[in-house]
Symmetry: C2
Subunit: 153 residues, 2 copies
């Protein structure tokens, strides 16, 4: 685990915030180098699947010209949802580092152990809680401001 | 549930088979009309997330100019994997009809109840086992032929 990669994922999440998207960011690393960066863009693209992890995986596949991301690591500011945890396994990414836990929907260890369940076809190891204060603050402040705007509407 | 929509999903799966992809097909229906059709294209696109359901969701979002697919139904030839079940919930599709069960990875009812878990943010109802013989035969024959080719290599 290298902190600088999580800090870059946080910078990506901040980009999402600037365009009023749920602030989650992700980077994919191979051989010590970032090969893709992304942030959540479901609103901008009006595409339900464009979470940070999915976009990062798609960019990495394009870069490596392969749907198999063996030997890659993904850094993401929040624990992946079922869709993204499933996508990480489908893409064969073996290592996941995430920031804040998502107690309701996280599929590393909070809700379902999608990443590590040996009954599934493919697995990843993970480490959570990296820079968790920064990662969760971004989300908390975003939702707080959103609720406030809703009250004012 | 209308059988004709599952038959169209099966036709989509057959298209996947023709280009040597895992034969799974999906269609999304709104107001009794098909608004998107897709088949698995992970090999052709070398993109790990391009399962039939994901492509169908992306096409439907584009068509409706919205990431919210409220009021839509998805027909898919196999029980959705974690990624696709998660995507269905993220896209707010409320109804899922699928063909064959996937005991190892299905996230309607086989492995994890991603579609119906009220602890998650969004849910869908589902009905499985529709045209299951046709749907599972496609998959069985595909994997059988693949194993045979591997032995001959």
């Amino acid at each position: 685990m290298e902190l600088k990669f999580m800090l870059e994922a946080i910078r990506q999440a901040e980009k999402a915030l600037l365009i009023d998207e749920v602030p989650i960011g992700a980077v994919i690393v191979k051989d010590g180098k970032i090969i893709s960066r992304a942030y959540n863009q479901t609103e901008k693209t009006q595409n339900a699947v464009k979470h940070a992890e999915i976009i990062a995986i798609e960019k990495a596949c394009k870069k490596l010209k392969s749907w198999r991301l063996d030997g890659c690591e993904i850094y993401v500011t929040a624990e992946p949802c079922p869709m993204c945890a499933g996508a990480i396994c489908n893409a064969r990414i073996p290592k996941v580092y995430f920031g804040t836990h998502e107690p309701k929907s996280g599929c590393a260890e909070s809700k379902y152990p999608v990443l590590t369940d040996s009954g599934l076809n493919h697995n990843a190891t993970f480490l959570g809680g990296i820079e968790k204060e920064a990662c969760s603050s971004l989300l908390k402040n975003y939702f707080k401001a959103k609720r406030k705007r809703k009250t004012l509407d």
